[in-house]
Symmetry: C2
Subunit: 194 residues, 2 copies
């Protein structure tokens, strides 16, 4: 779960682990700092010494989740060097695969954007930046393919992934996963030059 253990005390590390677990399961706003402290078995002040506030902890969590997602581009590049189409499929498959994890609750970043509707809120601003970065990487990858309108295709794929993650929550995980890869293939095919 993306542990960038940068100068964290033992108690701080336990807080971090508990926070990631609880945030992933219930969202951010549903989890109180007292619950995080109790779950991790440390006192609240240890939370505030290692992270300045609940908001900062939330930002760290969201960023950690995001880098895990962004890494998939690098992983795909190394898995299928030179074959950009295979890389794109790899990235999409990663999103589809993630839906299989027990208690899957959709894209953490997208969910956090909804939990923090105020665009001036620091957590929301982090979310918006991270979402933009993901789309940028996806567009860069798609632009390497022989397609007519790479930006449109990238945006369409982004929407598909977003929607599949959301649908997995109130519809079927399995159908969402299957539909995502199937639809992505159809869309990609419709954009590929011949």
């Amino acid at each position: 779960m993306a542990d960038d253990s940068t100068g964290r005390s033992p108690a701080g590390e336990r807080v971090w682990q508990a926070a990631c677990e609880l945030f992933s399961r219930d969202g951010i706003r549903s989890v109180g700092v007292a619950e995080i402290a109790a779950t991790s078995g440390v006192g609240k002040p240890s939370l505030y010494r290692n992270f300045g506030s609940k908001d900062e902890l939330a930002v760290a969590y969201v960023k950690a989740q995001a880098v895990a997602g962004l890494e998939s581009f690098e992983v795909a590049r190394q898995a299928c060097p030179g074959d950009e189409l295979a890389q794109l499929r790899h990235v999409i498959a990663r999103v589809a695969g993630e839906m299989g994890t027990p208690g899957y609750r959709g894209c953490v970043i997208a969910n956090t954007a909804i939990e923090f509707s105020d665009r001036e809120h620091p957590v929301r601003q982090a979310v918006d930046e991270l979402k933009a970065e993901y789309l940028r990487r996806l567009t860069t990858l798609v632009a390497r393919l022989p397609v007519r309108d790479p930006e449109a295709l990238a945006y369409t794929l982004q929407i598909l992934m977003e929607g599949a993650g959301a649908a997995a929550q109130f519809y079927s995980v399995e159908r969402s996963r299957a539909t995502l890869v199937e639809a992505a293939d159809r869309i990609i095919a419709s954009y590929l030059r011949q």
Copy 2:
């Protein structure tokens, strides 16, 4: 904003209007009952006399939003009788058009599902039922088209609409709207017989 004014006192009606406005703008959990009462200019007890609790008020709000969405199927049927493809495009265009409303914050029902991650919560259960109903209607409509796999197509379109609504929040409203109709057309075309 879908006023099913069933036996609501004047004060209750003001509460209802204020609640719809605030819930739409900030989400449900971000809005306290005190804020609703203050905005509507009535006391809190009037809220609790007309609606039993904040949860019941939230359920009423979510249902009202949902029926507004479900009505679009009927509207489409009357606008283009006999032409199911045009009806489908009509329904999709309605979702796309809704994104243009100022302060658009994505699909209310989907957002509420994220705000209430506990599937046993009454608000969440209402959300899940309403989402299922929407997909059912969409599937019924798609099944009238000469397509190979109507259920798959309906689910794909659902995911597209879901994703476009989400993307409109942290990306561009205009791109999300344009991409939704464009992608839907491509997907539909790829499923149509010949």
